[in-house]
Amino acid sequence: MSALGGAVPAAAAKVRVTYREAMRAAIREALERDPRVFLMGEDVGRYGGCFAVSKGLLDEFGPERIRDTPLSESAFVGAGIGAALGGMRPIVEIMTVNFSLLALDQIVNNAATILHMSGGQFNIPLVIRMTTGAGRQLAAQHSHSLEGWYAHIPGIRVLAPATLEDARGMLWTALENPDPVLIFEHGTLYAMEGELAADAGAVEIDHAAIRRSGTDVSLITYGGTLPKTLKAAEELALEGIEAEVIDLRTLRPLDADPIVQSVSRTHRAVIVDEGWKSGSLSAEITARIVESAFYELDAPVERVCSAEVPMPYAKHLEEAALPQVPRIVAAAIRVMGEHG
């Protein structure tokens, strides 16, 4: 059986998969490679996962390793921490980041601190996956992008896979990490389909990546807004503006060097972040740019973020509240000034 569940002709160098399938393949690989790995969370087993990521895995690996949990985020995240302390390599799935607030105490007060509090005696090799973001008319209690909050916390690593390669490859590397890693999967990305190398595997989780090279403006983004930003870059190219698109990939620890280097080349930056502006990741990136590349800036840093409202349910209002391609294009043109 191939790593991608038999959907792949063995001879082909590339396979056509969705982000969801790439993520499932990553979980499957982890389960196969390391007997200490198990998946637990709400509806991950019999239901196949709220976003169908773990569909079929219960039949494949059995209830010992694909474990449905009660509706208590605090309890099952705490159980995951305990299991990690006990030598296991748990993958805990929280349905959405909005519900992770119920486990905030476990994540922030325990997972992130125990290594420190124990004087370095106890690592927590725990991976928590959760869905984030809006765009699917799930309203204000299921649509927010709170990953920036977690990126505030020392002691945890925060990942945001935005490509098929990262969906496929980040999980294993996260499990190898001796400390807690949070993986944020944007809800609109699961259906994203594309070509992936048949032998795709683990990827590094330390560095940001340049997804498109350009000379005129740096568009800095991550997760669910990466496809929108790449589309905006294509439209800008029609205008004669060559945008460089940076995918942060790792939100904590933030890999600021590529950002600073890119802005030093383009002298202009637009940050695209589905989170709100105030007290946010986009604010942090802005600060890093100003701290490290102030004298490279030829225009103020622009941010394209979500409207500072609870995410609306109505489709047109939700669309209006979220970063969209035209807003990214307009912001890039603004920072270009007259010299585009």
């Binding site: 002298h267 294009v329 010299h339």
Partner: protein, 426 residues
């Protein structure tokens, strides 16, 4: 835009001193122009009536560009129609169809709009332009004064604005543009010169610009002119005695300084030695009918100019003295005229005040000779078989060997000496 020196490619119109309909006569001052040599009053070449002013103050124009049209008196009306030249129209903004307007609707987005039309103040009601950090850094690197940079969209100076200014200043413009701007007869609708920009230069900027102008001229001189140098010592005893006597007859305000004798002697000697008086242009020497002595004047803030004393050989000493004082004063505090800047046919430099005994100067191209005077010193001097103490001055000649030879130069210096021995004839 007249050429105010061989090294001048561009000048910035600062102010018009005339308006359409004004009657002007050759020599009238019609405009104030800023060059690397400072502010210069531009004199008109012909008599006539100003028909139209084609350049806006603040515009930088290539040498040869048409600034205004002048009609013959009585023909002004007839000439008016064809002579009208339209001021340059700004390029059409490139419409950005793809780009939706930013949230708060700006004016119909000239996203990559053209430069500010020449002569038009930057938008923002004259408010201090905002300067991007990169533009500020680049300006420091390129030694560009931000006050000379035209702000772009939104009254913001970006790095490209700084680089444009630096390019307009330092990089030679394409030859084609320069030739196009140098028609013998101005075409009816001459295009405006490229690289137009408003410029209000600061003192520092002017000083730096003058330094560059001097550097250019002197580098050219030492590269192109095969200098030869001669020196002689001149007994000024007789001249000073005559001067003391002469000054006794004059009111205090009209007294003469010995420098006027030196200038006059050089002028008269130059008239008699045409190889020393004129220009080397296009591989040949062109002697000048007139003797316009350029007098090197050092400026207090650094740099120097050598404005011409017109027809110095024909002017009585009193008049020449007044002119020397006037031009020195204006060079240091005010404004020189275009003819004074461009016309000198030979230069005199006098470093005696600085205490040096002799000066071997660098010829100012396209001139072919420069006479230097040092400090007057008392020296033991043998004359007529007798030894005495006389006031002696060093006179040097730096001359262009393409235009003259040492023999000729020697005669020229000797002639200056001879003239100074008969001051009453000066």
């Amino acid at each position: 835009m007249p050429s105010l020196g061989a090294d001048m490619d561009y000048g910035t119109l600062v102010e018009w001193m005339v308006k359409p309909g004004d009657r002007v006569r050759r020599g009238d001052i019609i405009a104030l122009v800023e060059t690397d040599k400072g502010l210069i009053e531009i004199e008109v070449f012909d008599d006539g009536v100003i028909e139209s002013l084609l350049a806006e103050p603040g515009t930088e124009l290539a040498v040869g560009a048409v600034m205004a049209t002048i009609g013959q008196e009585g023909q002004a009306a007839a000439a008016e129609t064809p002579a009208k030249a339209e001021p340059p129209a700004p390029r059409e903004p490139i419409p950005r169809e793809k780009a939706p307007p930013p949230p708060s609707p700006p004016p119909p987005a000239p996203a990559r709009a053209p430069r500010i039309p020449p002569g038009v103040a930057p938008p923002g009601g004259g408010a201090r332009p905002r300067v991007s950090p990169l533009a500020r850094r680049r300006a420091a690197e390129l030694n560009v004064d931000l006050a000379t940079v035209i702000a772009g969209e939104g009254n913001v100076i970006r790095v490209a604005d700084v680089e444009n200014t630096a390019a307009a200043r330092g990089v030679p413009k394409p030859a084609a543009a320069r030739e196009a701007a140098l028609p013998a007869v101005p075409p009816p609708a001459a295009p405006p010169a490229p690289g137009e920009r408003a410029a209000q230069k600061t003192v520092e900027e002017r000083t730096a610009a003058m330094r560059r102008a001097i550097a250019t001229a002197m580098t050219r001189a030492k590269r192109e002119i095969p200098h030869y140098y001669l020196e002689t010592h001149i007994d000024l005893g007789g001249a000073l005695a005559w001067l003391a006597e002469e000054n006794r007859k004059r009111p205090v305000t009209e007294r003469l300084l010995h420098s006027v004798l030196l200038v006059k002697a050089v002028a008269l000697a130059a008239r008699a030695a045409p190889e020393m008086n004129g220009f080397w242009i296009d591989g040949e020497f062109r002697p000048s009918e007139h003797v316009h002595v350029g007098m090197a004047i050092s400026l207090r803030k650094g740099g120097l100019v050598a404005p011409a004393l017109h027809d110095a050989d024909r002017k009585p000493l009193g008049e020449l003295m007044k002119e020397i004082l006037d031009v020195t004063n204006r060079a240091r505090t005010g404004v020189l005229r275009s003819s004074e800047i461009a016309d000198a046919t030979i230069t005199v430099t006098n470093l005696g005040d600085q205490g040096v005994e002799s000066v071997f100067g660098v010829i100012h191209p396209p001139q072919v000779a420069l006479v230097g005077f040092g400090k007057m010193v008392e020296r033991p001097w043998a004359s007529g078989g007798m030894l005495g103490v006389r006031p002696v001055i060093s006179a040097t000649l730096s001359a262009d060997h393409r235009a003259s030879d040492g023999h000729c130069g020697g005669r020229f210096l000797a002639a200056i000496d001879g003239l100074l021995q008969e001051p009453e004839k000066l």
